[in-house]
């Protein structure tokens, strides 16, 4: 059940109406938990309406979510009641192993088997080209990280163990953020479950406008450019230089609008139920350097990796080489979190190298300060965006539906070569993306910049309720008019 589907609106309307009718907090949480599991099960279980038979090969995935929750509930209590530091470590290690184990099995088992086979072949050992195909349950990367954050927080004594299973289960399964984040921290969300939310505290207009913004990003922008970007990345050899450039720029638009659109809708849906989720994006394409980019892009994942991986590895508490190693490891693992492809690792490694280079650059204050002219902010923004786009090529080049091969890497190199006019334009004219798409990109960039400069005022907060409803209705019509008939699933659902 996607946020942009009509059935989600029906589902949400029922959840919303019943939720605010219930008077007790426990009843509300029970309702939220039950509906969150229904929401999750809807991805795997369907019914044939003409026979009434349930159809699902993966009916047990919601049970896996429940088992993971139960395990972390027990582990949290055990960590808290442990008398020695060793037993605390044993329990947190068990939680990390179990959660990461689930993730490794579903996301990386096939990858590891294939890589081991390729490695054995490379060193001359007899190896079979065995492939392992495992269905990846949607949301597993997100809820395992969320669940892990809870046990690590308890282990670090940043919060007490949760004694109410209902609250912990609601925290992990809360449907607005269950399948694609934001990855909410226990410290940020569990306290919100302690007390009954009040309707008078809900910023209804803000939530409705945010939901509409997310819907526009996903349905009117991401889904509009997807039919042009996807065929290009499937067969870049059939296109020329200009198409390569257009496709790279549009993919940057597509992935941003797709993911941040989803996040906006998730935050808005949670807000309408009285809960606040972490922000996940803050105009990342206006970042002035790569460090700044990671403070603005997928914030909940980057801070998770910083707090639980980079710092656990030692952070910058050591030599320069040690810090660089930690940065590279964090970024490569962050890349591999997206999926079991070497191109994801390359994407992470490129960002890691950029972060290391940035640290070195910062160590040369004289040169840096001389370059800080009036043009510096604009130039650095353009350079950062260009670098991010180059990295996106590796990120997008992987064909996740096909078995892993060197084709992903070759495809990425070809696309970059084509965009930089380094490979001959043999296929020019055979199939090209319309140059008008560059105008579309420019238009979208201009709107985004205006939004960044806060040009769109908050007039909708000041007008009367009736005027707001009328404007919202007219805007909704304008948006629905430009919603493409076909929609693509959210890109981050596959991670």
């Amino acid at each position: 059940m996607l946020f942009v589907e009509f059935r989600f609106f029906e589902f949400f309307l029922v959840v919303f109406a019943v939720y605010w009718t219930l008077r007790k907090n426990e009843a509300r949480l029970t309702w939220l938990l039950a509906t969150s599991y229904v929401f999750y099960a809807a991805f795997f279980v369907g019914a044939d309406v003409f026979t009434g038979k349930l159809q699902s090969a993966h009916w047990w995935f919601p049970l896996m979510l429940a088992a993971s929750t139960l395990m972390d509930f027990v582990v949290g209590l055990r960590i808290e009641s442990a008398r020695t530091e060793v037993s605390r470590r044993v329990w947190v290690f068990a939680s990390v192993c179990a959660n990461i184990g689930v993730l490794v099995y579903f996301k990386y088992a096939g990858f590891l088997v294939q890589s081991a086979g390729a490695f054995a072949e490379w060193i001359g050992l007899p190896a079979s080209r065995h492939t392992l195909s495992i269905f990846l349950p949607v949301g597993v990367s997100f809820y395992t990280f969320q669940s892990l954050s809870y046990t690590i927080e308890v282990y670090r004594r940043h919060r007490p163990a949760e004694r109410n299973l209902l609250k912990l289960a609601t925290f992990i399964a809360f449907f607005p953020q269950l399948v694609a984040g934001p990855i909410v921290r226990a410290n940020a969300f569990l306290p919100q479950l302690e007390s009954k939310r009040r309707w008078s505290d809900v910023d209804v207009r803000g939530a409705l406008v945010l939901f509409m913004t997310g819907f526009v990003k996903k349905r009117c922008v991401s889904d509009l450019v997807a039919p042009f970007v996807d065929p290009y990345f499937a067969q870049p050899e059939s296109y020329g230089h200009l198409s390569a450039l257009t496709a790279i720029l549009l993919y940057a638009v597509q992935i941003y609008c797709d993911f941040s659109g989803y996040t906006d809708m998730a935050i808005a849906a949670a807000r309408l139920l009285g809960y606040e989720l972490t922000i996940n994006f803050n105009f990342p394409y206006f970042a002035r350097d790569i460090g700044d980019f990671w403070r603005r892009w997928h914030i909940s994942l980057s801070t998770w990796l910083r707090d639980y991986l980079y710092i656990s590895l030692g952070g910058n508490r050591g030599s320069k080489l040690f810090t660089c190693r930690n940065l590279m490891l964090t970024m490569i693992l962050g890349g591999l979190w997206h999926g079991s492809r070497w191109t994801f690792a390359i994407w992470g490694a490129l960002h890691g190298v950029a972060l290391v280079a940035q640290r070195e650059w910062a160590a040369w204050p004289r040169v840096a300060s001389r370059l800080r002219s009036a043009m510096y902010p604009a130039l650095s923004t353009v350079l950062t965006f260009s670098f991010v786009c180059v990295c996106w090529v590796f990120f997008r080049a992987a064909d996740l539906s096909a078995p892993m091969s060197g084709d992903d890497f070759r495809r990425a190199i070809h696309i970059l070569g084509s965009a930089l006019f380094l490979v001959p334009d043999v296929a020019a004219g055979s199939s090209e993306l319309s140059p008008r798409l560059l105008l579309l990109f420019a238009g979208l960039a201009a709107i985004h910049w205006l939004n960044y400069r806060r040009v769109f005022s908050t007039w909708w907060r000041k007008c009367s309720g009736l005027a707001f409803a009328l404007s919202y209705g007219c805007l909704a019509e304008l948006i629905l008019l430009f919603v493409p008939v076909k929609y693509a699933p959210f890109i981050y659902f596959q991670f």
């Binding site: 009434g52 309720g465 404007s471 209705g473 629905l480 919603v483 008939v485 076909k486």
Partner: protein
């Protein structure tokens, strides 16, 4: 009673009624906001709709665009699904009718999988700006079918779902069949029998799903969902508006299947079984649901409004769609029944079939010839002094 308790009680009542009043006014405000939202959404959609191009529904758009320019050249329209679109050759039909002295100039308005009430919408659009009188509307007989598939990503399901056509679908869903009436008269403990449960599930859940799907489509149609995106797609060189050869080689709406398409062994076995079954237990064409009858009459009325005469035909298919007009309702719609394999064996021979339901190229020519012959016969009978 202690005075303070009275005063407290009054205060409580006062507070409660104030609270109730405030809740009431909040409820009214919410209702007003919802109404304003709906009015703004659907009102602005209604204002915009006339200026939008016809949605890029394959075949339908091309045929209607052609008829809007050249509709006056034709006096006979064939309506139906792929059993009409790929099986009736207007060129051959017109030649035979001219030879018989009942000249026609026909256009094949058939579209793959087009059923009522979609065909009702298409016919209405085709006749909308027509000034010249129509002679005949030769319509393939199909009952109203409530479809619950192709909801997501289908312009085809949404474009005809206006209030009028959605009303037809909803009335069809609401209709209680004779079967259902019989079930309700069964002893109550039959409810626990598995076959009853199965039937109830399929009928009532099917109805619920039908209402849901068609209400969604009606809302989508009313809000013009995606109509601007189609235009954007055209601007950026997408797929939606790429022209199709739907008007056929002779621009008469007929699209011939590839001539080398022959029925597969499996399909032939299935068709042979259906023919045997038909020969044992011939299907008597029925009157279908009340809504199907009303739908037939609506089409008849529309054709007659434009000066034409409606003729129904049953396609060469021994299994499905054996619907005819109910004479008790005062109709004189002639019916040409090609569904009987023993009357028209040539239409059911292997070399003339493409699959269980469709004829191939040579089969289509035979079918058109038979259709023309039957048509000439009934017209001669009618025109006899």
């Amino acid at each position: 009673m202690h005075p303070s308790s009275t005063s407290n009680s009054d205060d409580t009542v006062g507070a409660l009624s104030a609270d109730a009043l405030s809740r009431g006014s909040r409820g009214l405000r919410t209702l007003a906001a919802w109404l304003a939202f709906g009015a703004a959404l659907f009102g602005s959609a209604a204002l915009i709709r006339p200026s939008l191009p016809f949605p890029p529904v394959p075949t339908v758009r091309e045929k209607l665009a052609w008829l809007s320019e050249h509709g006056g050249d034709y006096d006979t329209l064939f309506m139906g699904s792929s059993r009409a679109y790929n099986a009736i050759l207007p060129d051959l039909f017109d030649r035979l009718t001219a030879e018989a002295g009942i000249p026609t100039h026909s256009f094949n308005l058939g579209v793959n999988a087009m059923r009522p009430p979609e065909d009702d919408y298409v016919l209405e659009q085709a006749l909308a700006n027509r000034r010249q009188p129509l002679k005949y509307g030769i319509v393939m007989s199909i009952p109203v079918i409530v479809r619950t598939d192709d909801v997501n990503g289908s312009r085809r399901m949404a474009y005809w779902h206006d209030l009028k056509r959605s009303g037809i679908v909803f009335r069809e869903i609401a209709e209680i069949s004779d079967d259902e009436r019989r079930w309700w008269k069964q002893p109550w403990n039959d409810v626990f029998k598995p076959e009853w449960r199965q039937r109830m599930w399929s009928v009532y859940l099917g109805k619920a799903l039908g209402i849901h799907v068609n209400a969604t489509l009606l809302a989508g149609h009313a809000a013009n969902i995606g109509r601007g995106a189609d235009w954007m797609d055209e601007v950026f060189g997408g797929e939606a508006f790429k022209p199709l050869g739907a008007r056929g080689e002779r621009l008469d709406g007929y699209d011939r299947h590839a001539p080398d398409e022959w029925i597969s062994d499996a399909d032939w076995d299935a068709l042979s079984r259906q023919i045997q079954e038909y020969n044992k237990h011939p299907i008597v064409p029925g009157f279908g649901s009340n809504e199907s009858q009303r739908e037939l009459r609506r089409k008849q009325h529309l054709i007659e409004q434009h000066g034409g005469r409606m003729i129904l035909y049953l396609p060469p298919d021994p299994k499905t769609y054996q619907l005819v007009a109910d004479p008790l309702l005062g109709s004189d719609i002639p019916v040409l029944n090609f569904g009987n394999p023993s009357v028209y064996p040539e239409l059911f021979q292997r070399e003339n079939r493409r699959d269980v339901a469709h004829l191939n190229g040579p089969g289509s020519e035979i079918f058109t010839t038979l259709l023309a012959e039957e048509f000439i016969k009934i017209e001669r009978d009618r025109l006899k002094p």
